[in-house]
Symmetry: C2
Subunit: 152 residues, 2 copies
Amino acid sequence: MNKMFISAGVALALGAGYSLTAFSQAKPEVMVKQRQAAMALQGKYFGPMAAMAQDKAPFKADVVAYNASLLDALSRMPWDGFDASTKDVKSGTLPAVFTDTAKFKAAADQLQSAVEKLVAASKGSDMAATKAAIGGVGKTCGGCHDNFRQKP
Amino acid sequence: MNKMFISAGVALALGAGYSLTAFSQAKPEVMVKQRQAAMALQGKYFGPMAAMAQDKAPFKADVVAYNASLLDALSRMPWDGFDASTKDVKSGTLPAVFTDTAKFKAAADQLQSAVEKLVAASKGSDMAATKAAIGGVGKTCGGCHDNFRQKP
């Protein structure tokens, strides 16, 4: 991954590797709502890209670049919402989120890493590489949902 | 507003003035949910900054910079969800959103502009200027809600 390409994204705007929670002591119900909001918006911006990667929709490089840049931000948003205080709030979250926190964090990090690769790819002109990067993001979504989300 | 400062944000990553919808034909109910999600997350990241600007919480420059960068992305997300097809879906939206679209778009643009100013200010070391920029964002939130959202 070419670090240069990330410089325009959220990551380097804040210094590489920078991570921070949103500095709030929200109520558990609010945190659940906020993390679900982040997931819903990840779906909004990832969905069209997934369709393109699967040749179900025409590939549009500018849409991918735009959606990827927003997904970059969104991929950072859900995680502080999985606070231990939310474990008894009704949601699709499996208990493993709160018991196997290291594995859950690793899964979250994998998404962020895959999105950063997609952001980089989306700035190039290699459609195949960009589609592969979209697939890489999708794999991390599914991998995490398999382990940490109830089956719909 | 110093254009240099925005270069690390979403705006210049995509070319100045670039604007694009999410390329999807989502169902009206889904669009409403997505736009509400974007508003909820704007609240998540703006709330702590508003508290700092009002001296209700200690000012933390790194939190402001981080939250502002995410708000930059979020400020772009709700608008395509106010599609005409959603006008009969139950929500807090006032009919003016769909009848006075030019004024609504101007209000949305004002938010994005105010957030860009905040992103710029948050990268400097002038706390007073940053607090003022936070206030500027809050003013655009309230101005739009006054005209386009039902009173809670």
